[in-house]
Each structure stands twice: as structure tokens, then as C-alpha cells.
Subunit: 390 residues, 4 copies
């Protein structure tokens, strides 16, 4: 049992930290960081900066220019990147691309990898993951209403997807659909499709609480979309299993990135609390404020330990389902509390966008819903506990 961080990861962490501080934070006031996330040209510029520093996409396989980081390695690197909400965009380790890269690495055929994974992994393009639907197929997959049926040479897909992150600007999509008829009737399958196909249309952009996802969130309709046979991702009927392959680590990487932003918010709040006075002394000398700083410290600390342990379980080959649910609840709630306290410490300033804390607060609020709300994971964990499995 030890908590040593290997020297190479320490160096990577420090390099990313310096990069974020020197190159990314100064760009946070850029108007191209809109309420729907960074624009595509801004994203490209950020990616270019990371590429030039040799820090792009450290998680992707070496074949695509990455470092093939372990889960623990990602915990170190992504937290450092998250110190600016734009850091993961620059390093191309943000959702949904990061999770899609992971999924394609695990499941795609070589041809699919060459066509979709390779350019995606190198940061040249973006992708989206079309699973959630208006009636809630995110938390309860049985509600899936997008249908696929077998036709000559491929499949026809129809349905409406909702809250599709990065829908605009994505080059391709991974589409979750339910089989209609045939051997796998009623089972879910994942399909790959370029976005510039007849049958795919962006309906409207949602105005959402968060603002750090490239392309924002979209309602996307699929109407009689044709995909050829070789566009099935993995095996027909195995969609839900792959969703877990993607989601268990994807929840953790969300935790990592936002943890980095929590550290940032705490640094901003601390600096403010030391500098700003009220009633004759610095805010930090008021127990009411000091206790908030201390609680933030403890929340950051337990969130980090939770992430590290979950990563270790995954790196040991565990499926990590329990750990992933546990980490999702612990981290999203802890990170939100940190964000909330930092807003409170900053007072009026925290309510404005003069610092990034306000933005972070809104992202952190969304995190308690994204990738399964706390209630779904709490109940999942409750089932494991009741059966003596946790």
C-alpha cells in the first residue's frame, strides 16, 4: 500500500500544470468561450497549443500519438488539465470524445479504428455519443425508443436523441438504438455513422447550465438513417454492455477533470479570503470562512482518494461498476459543495463571471445529473450493499 506517484507521472502532472497556467488560463477571457462551450476554431487553437507542447491526448494509445496512460495516470493528468475548464479541451481529454476514444479502442474493428478512431484520437475532429433521449434513456436504458431494423446491406435507424453533447461540429456519432425484429429484437446495438448523412439533423441547441463542452448540447433527430453492416460497433445486441464499458471509466474521468476545477476554485477563494477584509480582518481569519476553506480541502481530499482507489481497481482489471457509481456520487457531490462554498466565499464576485468560479459552479451542478444522477447511482450502490457485495 502506498500513495507514491511515479516520477514520470509527477513530471507529466507538472508539465500539464505549467501549460495550463501559462497558456490556457490567460485565454479564459476569450469571447470564443461561449455559454455553449468553446467554438470550434477556439477549440482547434487550444488543441494546437497542447500539441505543440507534446501534451495532447496523453490517454490515447501510443499508436495515435498518446501515452496510453493507465487509469491512475489519467487521474493525475486529467486533474491537472482540469485546473482550467479549458484544459481538457486543449488536451483533447474532454467528454464525450475521451469516452468515445476509450470505447472505440476497446471494441472497434481495425477498419473502424482507421476511419474514425485515428483522426479522433489525434484531435483533428470531434465526435458525439447519441444515447440519451427525451424520455430519459440515459438513466433507465429500457426507455430506449430509437429503433434500428435490418435492411439489405445495413440498417435503418430512426429516433430522437436529446442532450447530445457536442452534436454540432461532431464528425461522427456513436448511436445507441434498439433492434426491431430479427434475432436481437428489443436488444440495444451501437452504430457508427458520419454526421453529414441524410437522415441526421440537428434540431436545436439546448441552453444548459454548464458551458465547458465543445459544441454545447443538442437535440438530434435520426430519420431513416442508413448505416452499412460494417458500421455496427462490436456485436449486434450488445449495446448496453458496451455502454458500461464506456460509462464506468467515463464517469471517473469526469470526476478527475472537475476535481481539477475544484482545486482551482479553492485557490481563487483562498486567495480572495486572504486579501479581502470584512469587519476588520481578512475573510480567511473569520471562522465562518475558514471552516468553508477547510471543508473544501476535505472534500477535495476525499474525492481524490476515491478517484485514485477506483482507478487502481480498474487498473487491476476490475470492472469497477461499484467503484464507478460510488465515485460518481462522492465526487460529484463533493465537487459541487466545493463550488458552492467558493461562490459563497467570493460573495457578489462569485456571482459574476469576473472569475471562473461562477461557470464552474454551474458545471458542477450539472455534474450531479450527467452520466446518471446521484439517485440512480445511490440506488445501484444500495442494491450492491444490501446484497453484501460492497
Amino acid at each position: 500500500m502506498n500513495f507514491d506517484i511515479p516520477a514520470d507521472l509527477q513530471k507529466l502532472r507538472d508539465d500539464i500544470g505549467a501549460f495550463v497556467r501559462d497558456s490556457i488560463i490567460p485565454l479564459e477571457k476569450d469571447k470564443r468561450w461561449t455559454s455553449h462551450g468553446p467554438t470550434e476554431d477556439f477549440r482547434q487553437e487550444l488543441v494546437g497549443l497542447a500539441r505543440s507542447r507534446g501534451l495532447l491526448a496523453p490517454h490515447v494509445p501510443e499508436a495515435y500519438g498518446g501515452r496510453n496512460l493507465s487509469h491512475f495516470g489519467r487521474a493525475i493528468a486529467f486533474e491537472a488539465a482540469g485546473y482550467s475548464m479549458l484544459g481538457p479541451i486543449a488536451l483533447h481529454c474532454a467528454a464525450p470524445d475521451e469516452g468515445n476514444i476509450h470505447l472505440l479502442s476497446e471494441v472497434a474493428t481495425e477498419a473502424q479504428k482507421a476511419r474514425w478512431l485515428a483522426p479522433l484520437a489525434r484531435g483533428g475532429i470531434r465526435s458525439c455519443f447519441a444515447m440519451t433521449e427525451p424520455m430519459g434513456a440515459g438513466s433507465d436504458p429500457s426507455l430506449l425508443n430509437t429503433m434500428a431494423r435490418k435492411v439489405d446491406g445495413g440498417y435503418r435507424i430512426s429516433g430522437l436523441k436529446w442532450l447530445i453533447t457536442g452534436g454540432q461540429g461532431a464528425s461522427f456519432a456513436i448511436i445507441m438504438a434498439k433492434m426491431q425484429g430479427g434475432d436481437h429484437d428489443g436488444k440495444a446495438t451501437m452504430f457508427l455513422s458520419d454526421m453529414d448523412q441524410p437522415g441526421i439533423s440537428l434540431q436545436r441547441q439546448l441552453d444548459s447550465m454548464d458551458s465547458s463542452f465543445s459544441g454545447g448540447h443538442w437535440v438530434v433527430s435520426f430519420y431513416d438513417l442508413f448505416v452499412p453492416d460494417d458500421s455496427v460497433l462490436g456485436a449486434v445486441g450488445e449495446g448496453f454492455r458496451y455502454a458500461q464499458v464506456r460509462l464506468a471509466p467515463a464517469r471517473l474521468t469526469h470526476c478527475m477533470r472537475w476535481l481539477g476545477s475544484a482545486v482551482r476554485a479553492q485557490d481563487i477563494a483562498r486567495e480572495f479570503a486572504n486579501r479581502r477584509t470584512a469587519f476588520g480582518k481578512p475573510l480567511a481569519d473569520h471562522e465562518g470562512v475558514g471552516f468553508m476553506l477547510a471543508d473544501n480541502d476535505m472534500d477535495i481530499y476525499t474525492a481524490r482518494l476515491t478517484i485514485w482507489h477506483s482507478c487502481w481497481v480498474l487498473d487491476q482489471g476490475g470492472r469497477g461498476n461499484i467503484e464507478s457509481s460510488r465515485a460518481k456520487v462522492i465526487c460529484s457531490e463533493a465537487i459541487f459543495r466545493v463550488a458552492d462554498r467558493c461562490v459563497q466565499i467570493l460573495g457578489g464576485l462569485g456571482l459574476t463571471e469576473d472569475t471562473v468560479v461562477g461557470r464552474f459552479f454551474r458545471d458542477a451542478r450539472a455534474f450531479r445529473v450527467y452520466d446518471g444522477p446521484s439517485e440512480v447511482h445511490r440506488w445501484s450502490l444500495a442494491r450492491h450493499v444490501a446484497r453484501g457485495r460492497a
Copy 2:
């Protein structure tokens, strides 16, 4: 002891309720409700609607067309208005005008009332309250850095104000400044000034969490602004006392309006929870969701009782300082919890602006800071309690 609502107030509540439902809620999707609040023409339109229904400004003295409602009467009316965040705009009982009307009614000379209060009370113009400064003069008045000095026939005022709600579009301002020299050296005084004066400039608009205040929030600079002698509001050197005259009830009216919005959010969440299913049954049939609805109900209930009791103390002639601090903490925190739970119940939908819950959540977050953060009021209350006075 009884909780009867007099028949005339019941009727007013019902009339406002019907007005909000029929005339205001359908306008909530109007693009003129921006992230900086309703535009001035939209505000005028809303005010016109209330005026045509005879519901405009029920709190103002009858001389100005109102009903001169008691504090309790306001509790009933403003909660009903707050059922839409645009309702208080329409009824012209929103901050900061509502508090300014109250202050002018209490302190202004007849000439000042004729010039500034009369048009304001009738909803034709807007006003702002220039107290808060970048270094925090909101919570700790000793930090006031805007200075006024006596000159021939009047005063010269210089300083920088921050987070000035409704700064743009306001016809006049109440300005808090510290006397420099003379008999009242170091003491605070309130001044009235039209906004279109040399020496007043809007520096920039703040991007803020909330979005229901007309004109948004501004940085406003005063540079060598001249105001004539008859522009002093009340007596020289009495600024802080008047601030309390304004703030004690103003905090309560904030509670009332946002309580109305909390009731609305709960209605939206309940309707969704009854309609939307997950894991085979409506969300409302899940204890995890049901408990949130129940907690909302209890928070709304205790917030309302707190407001009513505080109003009764004020209506009995009490200063209500303790009640005002207590109500501010209890209500702002309860209302925020309601908003937070409603977002969670709505899930992804709650993160978008497809309902008003997301907007309300951000307003409710701001409320925990505005008019004194929880920590300042908690400490104020703590002092009273420690001395056996609460």
C-alpha cells in the same frame, strides 16, 4: 393567534395568481427576457399588463395608485406575483425599485416625493440603489469608499459602485457616500440624483448568475458628481440608519418573491415527477424523488411561516432587525434547497432553459449572497442570541 388571510387579501392573491398564469407565464419564452433580465421595452409591456388589470404596485401608497399593503399584505401579494420570475417585474414590486419606493415613502421630502417617488411608484421609470462597492461595502458598511464633500449649494460625490442592480435604464439613483470633512466627517449620507448627470457613468455590465432584474447589474462610477442641497435624502450623516430602514423589509420582500418562484418550481417538478417514468413507475413513486418533493414542501412551508411572522412583527411596529436577519437566512437557504432539488428531480431537463427551473436555480443561488450573505446575518443573529435577545 390565527392564520386567517382576510378576504380582500385572498382576492388579491387569487387575482394576481390568475394574472400571472394567464398573462405572464405565456411570455416567459419571450427573447426579451435576456440573461441580464427583461429589456426595458419588455418591462414596460409587462407593467402595462398589470396596470390594465388594476394590479400594478399594490404596495405603494394609495396616493400613487397603490393599495398601501401592510407587510403581511405584501407577503401574500408578492408570493403570488413571484410564481413567475417576471411577475414582480409586471407588478412593479421587484428590487431595487420596491425597496427604493419604501425608503422614499419613509424618508423623502414632499418635493423629493413629487419629483422622484411619484413617477417611480407609478411604474413609469426605474431607479437604482448605489451602495455596494468593489471592496464590499454591502456587508460591512465601514468599507464605504465613495466620498461626498460639501461645496457651495450642494455636494460633490466621487467613488466607484459595483453590482448596482438596474444601473442601466434607471432614471435616478440613491447614492450612499461617506462625508469628507465638516460636522459629519466619516458618516454616511444618502443622496438622490438623476442618472443623466455629468459625473455618472456606467462602466460595464456584469455577467451574473441571476437573470430576473431589469437592467442587470452594473459597475457605476461617480466622478465629481454635483448634487444640490435639496438632494440629500433625509438628514446628513444618517445613511446607515436609512439603509436599515430600507434593508430590513427589502430582505423580506426578496423572500416573498422568490418563495413564489419556489412554489412554481415545486409545481413543475411535481408535474414532471408524476408524468415521467423510470424503472417501471412514475418518478414520484420513487421514495428518493418523493422525499425531495416532501422536503420541498416543508421548506416552502417553514419559509412562508417565517415570512408571515416577520411581517407581523413589522406590522406591529417592531424594527424587525432580528426577524429580518433570521428570515433572510432561513428563506434564502430553504428556497435554494427547493431550487436545487427541483433541478435534480427534472434531471437533464432541469439543466436546460426548457423550463424556468434552471433560471430560478441561479437566482436562488444569488439570493444567498444578495442583501447580506448568510454568514453576515448568521453572525448578526448569533450576537443577538448570545446576548439573550433573540
Copy 3:
């Protein structure tokens, strides 16, 4: 709408307050206040003190020497009595007798009243309410396993009751049993029986968290107990309805009494916080402690308003089911938080029985379970809310 307390109730409150301070608090160190509540001779002594001051049982009908207080009157009187945990014992307004008196007043025949209610109401004897069973018939009445069957001239009752407060020392019991056979098969009925009957035996005394109930808590077995026909309380088959008649107000009176104890704990904590120093200043001057005092104040305040409003609904003739559940959750949780914070303020001292705060903390913990745990009432309230009825 007003919060005036009529002069006669103010006087009663002050008289009870003086009585508790002068006559009861000095007896709190008496060894006869055991971990199973006051002994019977101590109880008799306390009752005698209240009787001699003309303060005994103000809630009972005037025919039995009481003042027939309204629910609101009880709120005033019982909170004052609760300022010492022994106060309600002295005034004979403690559970379960107080609730039994209420139930008998509402439902019993004149003969039953003469035999059981009259001596009980005058404080000469005690009673118990035998509803809860080992498998939990408290929260979920369908689990009732004590059976009654019709025999010649009466009924035979068998079953095991658990956590029967005041089982030892009670002169009679109200027994809830399920009918076996006959017209009312499966329905619950309440029976009255003296405790010194063959067929009733006290199995064992439970060691419980709380310590303010006379006689402690018992496991009581009923084996082939015979009760004559005229021992049915009210109508056969109506047991659950009567349980609600008893429990809705009984929950409120629990809230009242323990609220009084919360006020006491707060007074003790405040006095300590003003007197005791740490790190160079009184504890009360530390924000960390001051905030706890303020939070206590707010919890006490909202609990009191909740009780008053609920009483008003009952006094208006409402059934108060929603209010009773709401008040149970709000008050028991608020009162527990107060107790918990007072322990924390007192530090090591709060962990000992050198003050009454430790005892009160344990009683307050039990209150979150007694008369229906928070979860049961929260869910009951959730159902009302979901249906738009709250």
C-alpha cells in the same frame, strides 16, 4: 392573521415557567430520575407539586380539574413545561398518558370515562398504549399480529407488544388487536383493560436511548386475556381510525414538550458559550460557536411556528393529518439538530450528565423514531404532495 398570545395563556406560560424553574429544575439531580425515567414515587411527588400550584393537567376537560386547553393552548403550556424534561411528568401532560386522555375523551363511553379517564386525568394513576409490536406494527399497521376473538360476554386477546412506554406501573392499557373471525375479521379494534389481569405479563424492560418516560419501555405479553364486552373502546373494527385520532395530536404534543427542552438546552449552551473561553475569548465570540447558536435559534423558531400553525388547523376543526406528519418531521429533526449542536458547544461537558443536555440529546434522537420515523412521515407527506394535496 396575528401571532398574539391571549393574556390568559401568557399567564399560564409564565406560571408554568416559574414553577419549572423554581420547583422542578432543582429536582433534576434526584437519583430517582433513573435511566428508565422517574420512579413512580418520584412521579407522584412531582405531580403533587404541580397540583399544589394549580398547574396539573391543564389540557384535560374542566370536569376533571383541567382547563380544557385548545391545541394552541397546549402548544404554549407544554413548551413551557418541557423546559425541564421532568416538567411534563409533573404537569401530567407527558406521553403516553396525555394522548390516552385525549383519546378517551374523544371516544370512551361515560362508564369508561368514569372508570379509567377520571382517575387518569387527575394524575393519580398511569396508563399505557399497547400498539407497537416486535415486527413493527407501529409504522405499518398491517403488521399487527395481536389477535382478538369474540367469546361469550367479551373477547380473548393474545399477542406480544414491544416498546410499550410506561408498561410497568400503568394501571390500565389501551390494547390494539386485530379481529379474528366474525364480521370484522382482520380489522383492528381497541380494548381497555386493567393491567393487573391474568393474561398480562411484563416480559422485560428495554434499555433505551431516552430516559424521560415514567416506567420506561417494556415488552408486554397478552396471553388469552379476557376483556368484557364493555371494554371495547369505541366501535369494533375502528382501531386504526382511533389510532389516528390519538396520534395526530399526540405527535404535536411530543413536538411541544421537546421544543421546550430544546429551548433549555440552548439556554445552557448559550450561558456556557458566554462564560467559557478558548483561544483567548469566550466561545460565543467564535463564529463557529456563534453560528451554532444562531442555527439553534432558527430551528427553534421554525419548529415553534410549525407547531402553532398545525395547532391552529386542528383548532379550526381540521383533521391535521398532513400538518401532523409535516410537524413531526420538521420538529423532530430540528430539535435533534439543536440537541446535537448544544452537545458540541458544551464539548466534554455535553457528553456527561453534569448538565441535562446529554439526556436531552438521547431523548431527541429517539424522537426521530417514535410515533413514526421521519421516513414514514416523509413518504406520507410525499404522497400528499404528489397528488397536489399539500
Copy 4:
């Protein structure tokens, strides 16, 4: 970075686990486990059981028959022992002896070790740590009022100590006193003294919330106690430094032991929730209960990770002051929440001593005060955070 537990520690954990289950839990109903902890003869019996299994005092140096466990080793062993609150008594790794053994190992002379440490480490005798005083010298050492002055051949000590755990039955005491006069005037020194000396008297036993400490808690007076020169523990004037040597790890071992009890409580609550039904299904199938089980799981998990990381810092040679404060707050509050939820899940049963959960709840409440209340550690942590050191 890894979370592997070495095989020898796994075996030790399993051996202790089996011992506690097989030999200790069956004794939990023994009447000799009083509300003031186990009696001395019961303690001796428990120690004998552990000795016969070769599990006694695994933390003490090998010279005294132990295994000289690392801090991490203790985390594993003490959590396993804590699965019964009597387990640490049996293994002789309970407070205050465990901390005293640690302190003596670090600071005592060889002669002192031979006289006091050796018999203590072997479990034959008990000891006490006389630091806390009625005015609170526990949290704020500057309040120390017990005085020591130099006399011929030794020192004379006078003062009153309060909440001295294990005062009765202890063979010797470590006494913290402030030097009066001489070179070290005003500085604190630790002294060793047998308890059967003239000048030491047990004043009274405190009735305390917790019940797992051998000998209970006492008020102990020192009046003109003479201790010879060689009874100074370490150097004169260094008492506060040694207090930290003792307290930093002692806080952690408290966390470890009570974490074991939290695991036990969770097991009891889970078993009950699976077995007991309400409203037609097992309690565990109710989300309200399931969520509590899940929250317990997360609290136990983060507490354990916190302990492990803190141990690792200490095992690396760190002083661990920050970690110790952080762990004290995180673990005591998490463990209390677990205890509180388990009581709630068990309902009425949880309020009785029919399970150990009620006892554990009261111990867990005390833990939030012992060894420095949450507020003191939170503030200490706040200072570190504000200075950028955490």
C-alpha cells in the same frame, strides 16, 4: 500507487476478525460491560482471550511481545478489532493505553520503560493520561492550570483533572502540568506517577455518553503530589510537543477502531433491512432505507481511505499534523453519520440495547468531541489551507 494489503496483514486482519466474531461478540451481552465500560475483571478476561490467540497488542514493540505494526498495519488490525467495541479492549489497543504506549515508546528512558511501559505493553495493567481540565485544557493547552514546581529531589504537582479516561483502575498516570518558577516557568511538562500515591485522589466518576472505555471517565485531583526527578517524561518544558507526538497518531487509532464499529453497525442494519418488512417489502427495497445503506457505504469507504493515506504519511516519516486533523474531522463525522443512520434503519430496535448499535451511536457522538472537537481541528486545518500549506 497501490492499495495492496500485504499478505501478513491480510492474515492478521482475518485472524482478528475471526477472533472477534467467535470469542468477543458472544460476550457483548455480559453484564460486566457496564455503562462505564468493561469492569477490570472482564477486561482481564478479554485480554486473556486475545493473549491465548496470540493477538494481544500487535502494535507494541516486539520486545514486549507485539508485532511493532506500522501505522498502516494498525489501520488494518484496529479496524478489525473495532468490529466489536470490546475488541480493542481485548487486544489492548484501546485508548488511552494505546496512545500512552506509543508515547512512552518514543520518549521514555529505559528505566521508565522497564518500570511502566513493559507491564503496560503486556496488558497486565492500565494507565491514564491526565491532561484535560475542567476549564478545557484539552482543546486549548494555554488553559492548563495544573502546576508543578521544583523541590528537592523532584517536583510537587497540584491541580484538578477532568474527564480522565480509565482513571479508576489505572496503575499509573502521565500528568501534564505547567512549570511554576524556574527556567521553564509557564511551560508544560509531562510527569509519570503511580496512581497509588498520596496526593492523588479520584473525586468522582462522570456519567458519560460513551461506554467502551475501561474504567470510565473520572475527575482526578492532584494535591501536592511528589514525583522524583526521574519521573519527568522526556525533557522539562516539552510537554506540548510530546502531546502532539501522542495525539496525532492517537486520533488516527480512534478513527480506526470506531471505523470497525461502523462496519459492524452497517452489517447489523443491512441484515435487519433485508429481513424486516414494511409496507409489503423488505426495508432494504425502500429507496429511503437503501439510500442510507449506500451513504453509509460511502462514508465508511472515504473514512478508510483517509485513514490509510494518513498512515502512509506517518509511515513515510511525516509529522502528519494536517492529516491527523483532517482525518479526525472526516472520520468522526462520517462515523457518526453511519451510526445515526443505522439507528434510524433499525427504528425502535436501534433505540434499545438489544443490539450494540445504540451504544455505538453514543460512542460515535462522543468521538466528535474527544481528542479535539471538530471545530478545533477544522480551524487548525483552515489555518493551514489559508496559508497554502494543505
